[in-house]
Amino acid sequence: MADIKFTEAHEYILVDGDIGTIGITDYAQEQLGDIVFVELPEVGRAVKKGDEAAVVESVKAAAEVYAPVAGEVLETNKELEKNPALVNEDAEGKAWFLRIKLADADELSQLMDRQAYDSFLETLS
């Protein structure tokens, strides 16, 4: 069963077994503005929790996307290279950035669930 977790830096990870699909949240894309470019990692790369996994650029800002947990990069979303605007349209759906094979599922417990993330967002406004 797929389970979604969030970080305070506005990344999400959708977990299915030992595969995690990582992207940025809807809140993040709204803050960034029109996305113009996404820089994705190489397949096969190993990332630790907190490593820079990708970079997302809007007209006025560039933001690092950090790996919420450790793992190995299995796949990246080629669609984003052609159509970065997808991040604005469907950040938490079709505009996922990368898929990893989890190295340590225990790290997920340090992340927020949907409810906790929504409460966290309220503290920001």
């Binding site: 113009v36 650029e57 007209v59």
Partner: protein, 518 residues
């Protein structure tokens, strides 16, 4: 762009234009040179080359280049028409914080063009350019006197280049002592070039938070200092327009920790003749000749960023530097010839922005000690006059306090209006003003940083103040539309920057990409 037959340029967006030509009075729509010129036309009459056996071998060009040419009248028209779409200091106030958009004296242009300055080559024998070396020495003397520092590197080509110069000298000093330090302290309000320069040199950046009044406290610096810190980079006055009052103690703490103090001199205009950075304990400071010393911005450059140094860093100053050789002056141009010094290397070919040295020297001679002090006082007076005239209708992030040469507002006063800092700035354009600096420094939300400089008359300031009061009133009064659609009266309305970044078109091409796809 085809042969000699040239028809009228294609009309743009016919439906939106109120005129047949697309022109509006004095504002002429002007196509690209590639759409107007052709490869056979030339506006320069050159004699035919005499017959000579070619020495180009097999490397002679075989393909055409594709460059358009224009006759002289067409060229003049093209560029004059372009010029009329630009705002400029000569047109009106640029209230740009930390840019110091002061008047560019025309005498400076005349003097820089004297053949004795403009028509000399950097590598002609030094005996034939002693006047140029004398001018560089004179500029150095004035800069060190004004800053209270021991020496100066003139070669950096712009402010950011000057930062690189200062920070590399600091790194060289640590390397020379065998110190391995990997961290540089930078306040969160710093200009982006500061962390970029540190990163270029392999340092990691440790950010220092500002206190409630926007300045950096010596306690915060002491808490961040350790044996791994190579330097602190501070702007003074800072990017919020405030003098860093703890700066002397900060310098002391930095030195006690074995680190150096780099001062970003972008805001020097506030304190020329009023305080000397050298007295504050700094080790090096870059100076923007195109800010404090009136050399023209030229639409983005050229600048010039000489760096003043304290005694401890002089040994590491880059080549070339000036020395005396009896009655003559010379440049030390190689590391091998640097007696008693250990220059960290060379930052640029040749000797620096001589054209800007002449202009800056003319400015300094014109103002003199009394004029430069008066200029700083007027700059600070003008900024505080703006602050006092707007404090009741606009909001300041650190409360209302005396500022130096620039005043910082934030977007708090626009809360609930739906008008953003960007919208507010664009509305200024329709009123005939260039917007202030926006969204910098990052420590203020929706920052608006206003620096009038001493070149503005009271009448000019009063008009600017009147416009801002009217805009603030309109925003609070709910007139969102005026702001969202602004500017309406400029040569172009808001431009689609997203499209420019998503589908970059960075040059003219013979075939339009869209046409090719059809």
């Amino acid at each position: 762009m085809t042969g000699k037959e040239r028809s009228a340029p294609a009309r743009q967006n016919e439906s939106a234009s109120p005129t047949y030509s697309g022109n509006r009075g004095l504002l002429i729509e002007e196509p690209l040179i590639f759409e107007v010129g052709d490869t056979a036309t030339s506006g320069v009459d050159l004699p035919e080359a005499p017959e000579a056996a070619s020495r180009l071998g097999k490397l002679a060009r075989r393909e055409p280049i594709g460059l358009p040419g224009l006759s002289e009248p067409e060229a003049l028209r093209h560029y004059v028409r372009l010029s009329q779409k630009n705002y400029a200091i000569d047109l009106g106030l640029y209230p740009l914080g930390s840019c110091t958009m002061k008047h560019n004296p025309r005498a400076n242009e005349k003097l820089a063009r004297l053949p004795g300055f403009g028509d000399i080559h950097p590598l002609q024998p030094e005996s034939t350019v002693q006047g140029a070396l004398d001018l560089m020495a004179q500029l150095s003397a004035w800069l060190t006197e004004l800053t209270g520092m021991a020496g100066v590197a003139l070669s950096p080509k712009a402010g950011a280049h000057g930062e690189l110069c200062g920070m590399t000298a600091i790194k060289a000093a640590h390397d020379d002592k065998g110190e391995q330090r990997s961290v540089v302290l930078v306040p969160e309000s710093a200009h982006g070039t500061n962390p970029a320069t540190a990163a270029l040199l392999g340092y990691s950046v440790r950010t220092i938070a500002a206190r409630d009044d926007g300045t950096v406290s010596v306690e915060a610096v002491k808490a961040a200092l350790d044996a791994d810190v190579a330097a602190i980079m501070l702007t003074n006055p800072n990017t919020c327009g405030l003098f860093e009052r703890d700066i002397v103690e900060i310098a002391q703490a930095v030195h006690d920790a074995g680190a150096y103090f780099y001062c970003d001199g972008a805001n020097f205009n506030a304190i020329v003749g009023k305080a000397r950075p050298g007295d504050l304990g700094i080790d090096c400071m870059h100076i923007n000749l195109h800010k404090t010393f009136s050399t023209p911005h030229g639409g983005g450059g050229p600048g010039s960023g000489p760096v003043v140094f304290s005694e401890v860093l002089i040994p590491y100053v880059p080549i070339p530097y000036l020395v005396r050789d009896g009655a003559m002056r010379r440049l030390v141009e190689s590391e091998g010839a640097a007696e008693g010094r250990k220059p960290f290397g060379r930052l640029t070919a040749f000797h620096g922005q001589m054209g800007m040295f002449v202009r800056a020297m003319a400015y300094m001679l014109s103002h003199g000690a009394d004029g430069m002090r008066q200029a700083s006082e007027d700059a600070v007076l003008n900024a505080n006059y703006i602050r006092a005239s707007l404090r009741d209708v606009m909001s300041q992030p650190f409360g209302d306090q005396t500022c130096m040469h620039e005043v910082l507002f934030d977007d708090h006063f626009l809360e609930g209006t739906g008008v953003t800092t960007l919208d507010f700035a664009k509305a200024l354009i329709d009123e005939g003003f260039h917007p202030m600096t926006v969204y910098f420094p990052l420590v203020a939300h929706g920052a608006m940083l206003v620096e009038p400089t001493e070149s503005e008359s009271k009448a000019s300031l009063d008009q600017f103040i009147g416009v801002l009061r009217d805009l603030a009133k309109a925003a609070k009064g709910g007139d969102q539309d005026r702001f969202k659609r602004a500017p309406q009266l400029a040569p172009r309305q808001r431009l689609d920057e997203t499209r420019a970044a998503r589908q970059p078109v960075l040059r003219w091409s013979a075939v339009e990409p869209a046409e090719a796809a059809e």
